[in-house]
Symmetry: C2
Subunit: 554 residues, 2 copies
């Protein structure tokens, strides 16, 4: 329209860096980060991040270079979520369960210039650099060691000659460093490698725009007022902690960091710091509900828990709420900056039985306020499935909080966006009220005698057995049926159950063809984000051979 | 970064239209709009807006054409905040206190194609068209009459031959109309004419991007969880109701509409609909605290009240809180989509005396989460003033929630953005904690004997006098001092006070040179948004002549 001018007065590329600048002005005395007895305020965190950004620049890191971190949820990892973008570089958070070989692969793929590593993971990092030195002629990334926060002379000390120390960088950085802002909000802010349950990890690119918008959306879907107290259980290396390192700054909240996640640590921190919000995969919820009574503490107030990464079994939700937690279920992928949908609670559900409520909460729900659309579609025709709670299709997202693409893998990006939507590879149905419910990963679904079996549904039933701690179901190849359901079950300590009991329990609650034919007891293999590695279980199930062989021989 | 693709899967122009689409899916049974006994749900509101958008298109309105509305806070005005943008057009909300001459001027300036008018304001609109027919050869805007909501055969009926009826448009619109989304988020969504206390009104252009971001920011600064119940006292024609028509949809809240704002209506609606949030200029707060006891009702829960448009006198805030309201003070201009800053409450202020608390709350504070920067600067050098609570400078904003510009007035846009910041024309100081406090409009400040006198400070003191209902201070020309403070005061019903008492009251509480020399009793002239029209008072003060004439003759 005539009379408009776009200039610095009215147009600023969206970036979460803004949140930190603002928090330092607005929330001057609010604790920003707490870790054991160490506590910072927002102006201190801002100052530390500016100095760190300056130090990163001084080390020769240029805008759009990648800076990687290998660390658990310690304060340094929080600070790097701001300091790295403030230096113009791209933050790559690495999974702390990776071995040296995988770390070296990712450093090479991302051309990392600088690697921050927690002192406990130093051997992994050194091993990775050693491997890297043999496979590349490029300059190796510089190493910066993060010592124990608040203990400058950590016992696990280093050779000062060969490595840089995190706190030295903070100390020497220029407090007057001019923060580098993105020129375009579409510029990358971070790189998140997918957990890679099957193939080689892919580097998911997040933009400043997406991070800003998802941070605000996540604040809203967590029902966070200003100054929340957030307990970090979700690893920040996973989807940048669902964008909450940025979101907590937007609301001037307090980040309670923990090196390790234990039930005792969770209850102690909630009690001590009056935690208002936390998040975690169902594994964390499981840890809480199965914790011994002596580590439990009464909650000073209701704690809102966002769960995700895997659909929470209704029984887990139900028991969390008995303990005073308010569980909200969110769903998303690394490709959607973490949460993309939420099972928004409806007031009309308040009067339903607790059991039905827990089942409703396990749905993946509706897109959050930052996501444009969520749909279940036929992946070939791209037509929406009818909202009949029965017809399965592929779950797809579309919106500003979907990744820019996969680093150096245009083909994979094109495949993921085919038809103008992000294809999740998850199968689901749409309920008449528009809420979606996941039935399975495309590759996890069991097809037995032509019938689709949702492994999530079978797992949900097994979970409700009182002796069961964890359960996962995969297809076992079968000469007659194609596949039959095979359950892997971990029992609670001191509890007993036989295969026959579990199978009968399922037959009483499910169509008979959905009940597992086989039950294997033992630990479940998992990724660092708490997802069961079903490809490992499928290998195991395959090794069991076909049940039908005997039948067909009859 | 290599591997990125920008496409419909991951890039969607930001627009508040998204909020309505989502609310209709997520909040299916939540009341969207309530007006007396009429109530709609979110899916109904969406359906009505789509049909209305279709009808607007069918009437020949093209994208970027202007559609104007002249109506109080009735449901139609709410719906038009979505329906007009959904037709691709630009919404222009007109002040209901304008006369036909002003309306005709604005219709002409904006080249309005379609004018919606509430039946009670039909004469104004017809008068405006009549004037317009004499001054332009272009086609006159079509008129659509909004009858009383829920009363299709309103007594104030119309000549069906000559005008269109709002509900007919809704009824006849195409339910399958494909909503028009902005191609670029920078595209205009609305046009807001400034209230024009001094010069000709200017048409402030809002973008889809700014409206989206300010709506989310406003939700956050109002501390709104999902499904708030919002009572409409702020006119939606003023800065698009501070962007809350869009914000309430984002949170799936309920809009309680009222045709007129009265203390009785406010208390009745709060009680009946369990209102959680409302907003209003200090005039509205005044109306509440001075309401007769028989219209008051106990609040079912704490009601958060956002006040703005003029700095609230501490005493008003104090007495609102005694009644159970929680007052938050926000500051902004039409040019900043309404609220641009907020006086964020600090936990450390909780232990101060109520009196000091109220004074702190009257500060304009810090930028909200959608605004990039707020500063007090020397308007010539553009240097920030020291944060000493004393040095005055011009208040300036910078960020995505600053207007695109003034329609067809590039010169005015350039002046407003000179130096890359929005110049507000307000004078203020910065406190050591970074919070800003308004001292005056540049043109309102009194300069007496070389000393700056903040009229806001003097008004605050007069307000705290128990007999005073309203007060405004302007400069009275003076041959000796340049100017002296002249107070215009309206007393509460049944209360008495003399000029001498008011002057002495001020001398006891302020530096003597700041106390008014003159006090005039009577009603105060106001704009429709509750701002006192100081230019009218200045004329009156001028007419009084100089006090010093007599002195200089001695």
């Amino acid at each position: 329209m005539e009379g408009s001018i776009r200039c610095s007065a009215n147009y600023v590329p969206l970036t979460p860096i803004t949140f930190l600048e603002r928090a330092a002005t607005v929330y001057q005395k609010t604790p920003s980060v707490i870790f054991g007895d160490v506590s910072y305020t927002w102006p201190q965190t801002r100052q530390r991040c500016i100095k760190l950004a300056s130090a990163i620049s001084q080390l020769g890191v240029s805008p759009t270079d990648v800076v990687a971190v290998l660390a658990p949820n310690v304060p340094a990892l929080y600070e790097l979520h701001f300091a790295v973008p403030m230096s113009g570089a791209v933050l790559c958070t690495l999974n702390t369960r990776h071995d040296s070989a995988m770390v070296s692969l990712l450093l090479k793929h991302s051309k990392t210039k600088l690697l921050f590593v927690d002192y406990q993971l130093l051997d992994i990092a050194k091993g990775a650099l050693q491997i890297l030195s043999k496979t590349t002629s490029s300059k190796l990334p510089l190493l910066v060691v993060i010592l124990e926060c608040g203990h400058p002379s950590s016992p696990h000390t280093h050779n000062a000659e060969e490595t840089l120390i995190y706190e030295d960088l903070v100390a020497k950085g220029d407090a007057e460093f001019e923060v580098i802002r993105p020129k375009d909000e579409w510029d990358p802010i971070s790189l998140n490698y997918t957990s890679g349950t099957t193939s080689n990890p892919k580097g998911v690119i997040y933009s400043h725009r997406g991070a800003y918008l998802n941070a605000l959306a996540t604040v809203l879907l967590n029902e966070m007022m200003s100054m929340p107290v957030y307990l970090w259980c979700v690893p920040m290396f996973h989807c940048n902690g669902w964008c909450l390192p940025w979101g907590i700054a937007a609301q001037g909240g307090t980040n309670v960091c923990q090196r390790n996640v234990t039930a005792k640590g969770i209850f102690d921190n909630i009690f001590r710091h009056k935690v208002t919000h936390m998040g975690g995969a169902p594994t964390i919820l499981n840890m809480i509900i199965n914790s011994p009574p002596d580590v439990r503490k009464p909650l000073p107030r209701k704690v809102t828990v966002m769960t995700g990464a895997a659909p929470p079994p209704p029984d887990v939700i139900f028991r969390m709420e008995e303990l005073g937690f308010d569980v909200t279920h969110s769903y998303g992928l690394t490709e959607t900056y973490g949460p993309g949908s939420i099972c928004t609670w409806k007031p009309e559900w308040n009067n339903l039985s607790k059991d039905v409520q827990a089942k409703l909460k396990a749905r993946q729900g509706v897109p959050h306020v930052g996501m444009e659309e969520l749909d279940v579609k036929d992946p070939k025709t791209m037509k929406s499935v009818p909202a009949d709670a029965k017809t399965m299709g592929e779950v797809m997202f579309r919106g500003n909080t979907v990744m820019n693409g996969y680093l150096k893998d245009l083909k994979a990006t094109q495949d993921a966006f085919k038809g103008g939507w992000l294809r999740t590879g998850d199968l689901g149905v749409k309920h008449p009220d528009g809420y979606i419910e996941l039935k399975d990963r495309s590759k996890d679904i069991i097809i037995s005698g032509g019938e689709n079996i949702s492994t999530i549904e079978v797992e949900g039933v097994i979970f409700s057995h009182p002796a069961v701690l964890e359960a996962a179901v995969v297809g076992r190849p079968d000469d007659y049926w194609g596949e039959t359901p095979c359950a892997f079950v971990k029992l609670k300590e001191g509890c007993n159950a036989t295969s026959e009991e579990i199978i009968q329990f399922c037959k009483n609650r499910l169509p008979r063809f959905m009940a597992p034919r086989t039950v294997v007891f033992g630990d479940l293999p998992k990724t660092s984000t708490g997802k069961v590695q079903k490809f490992v279980l499928r290998e195991k199930a395959k090794a069991l051979g076909s049940l039908a062989k005997n039948i067909s021989r009859l």
